[in-house]
Symmetry: C2
DNA sequence: CGTGTATATACGCCGCTGTGTATATTCGAG
DNA sequence: CTCGAATATACACAGCGGCGTATATACACG
C-alpha cells in the first residue's frame, strides 16, 4: 500500500498551478483534445501540452488516442488519493493518532527522521 | 471570492513537499517548537525554519509564542479548503456541472478569461 | 506515397525554491 | 542590564519549472 511517497509530491505539485487545475476542471466536464485545450489559454501550445504532461505524470489525467487527436480526461483516482492524504492529516489533527499511526509510518521524514514521536528523550 | 485563487496555489505548493507534510503530521499530533522540529530532520535549522515559514504563509500552520519558543500547530482551515477544492473537482467529474458552475467561475483561466491578475505575490 | 494537422521533443531563458553557512534579532533567565 | 537560547534574516548557489520558439514525430486522408 503505502501511498508511494513521491507520487504524492507529484500530485500536489501538479495541483499547485492555476492553469493545471483549470485543465482538470475542463476535462472533468467534457472530453477535450490537447489542441482544443490549448485554444483556451493565452500561452503557447507547447506550454499547455507540458502542463498536460505534468498532470499525466502525476496520474491526474489520462490520454486516449482518438483518430489523430489525444483526448484528455481526468482520472479521479489520483484525485481521491490526494484527498485521502488530506483526510489523513485532518484525522490526525482530530486526535485519531492511535488508528492513524500505521498510516503515519508510511511516509517517514526523508533522510533520517523516524516516526517515533513520544519516545524521544 | 471564496477560495482566493493564489491561496490555493500556495496551499498545494506547500503540500507538495515531503518534509513539509511530515511537519504537518508532527504538529498535528503534538505541539512542537521550531527547534524541536528541526532536530527531527537531517537538514539545517534554517531550512526547517523556512519550511515552517512556507507552511505558515500558506495558512497551514500557525505559530504561537510560548516563553522564548514558537509553538507550531497545524491550522486545519487551509487543509479543509484544499480538500474542498479537490471535492469540487471530483464533483465536477461526476457531472454535477450545473450546481458547480458558480464555483467554477471562481478561478477562471489565468490570463484571458479574467481581468484580475494582480492577487498573486 | 505526400501533405497537412496534431502532438511531442529540443533548447534556451529566467525566476523561484531548497539548501547551506553566517549573521542579526528577539526574549526569558538571572 | 547582560547572556544565551530560540528564531529570523541575509547572502550564495545549484537545480528545477514554466515559458517561448523551433523542430521532430505520428497519423489521417487523399
Amino acid at each position: 500500500m503505502v501511498v508511494d511517497d513521491g507520487a504524492v509530491d507529484q500530485t500536489f505539485h501538479a495541483l499547485a498551478d492555476r492553469t493545471r487545475r483549470d485543465i482538470l476542471r475542463r476535462c472533468a466536464t467534457g472530453e477535450l483534445s490537447v489542441s482544443r485545450l490549448a485554444e483556451a489559454y493565452p500561452m503557447s501550445f507547447a506550454a499547455v501540452q507540458k502542463h498536460v504532461a505534468v498532470l499525466e505524470r502525476a496520474g491526474l489525467v489520462t490520454k486516449e488516442r482518438r483518430g489523430r487527436e489525444q483526448i484528455v480526461r481526468t482520472a479521479p483516482d489520483a484525485l481521491a488519493r490526494a484527498r485521502q492524504s488530506l483526510d489523513e492529516l485532518e484525522a490526525l489533527w482530530r486526535g485519531r493518532v492511535d488508528r492513524m499511526a500505521a498510516l503515519l509510518a508510511e511516509e517517514p521524514a526523508p533522510g533520517q527522521a523516524e516516526p517515533r514521536r513520544g519516545t524521544e528523550r
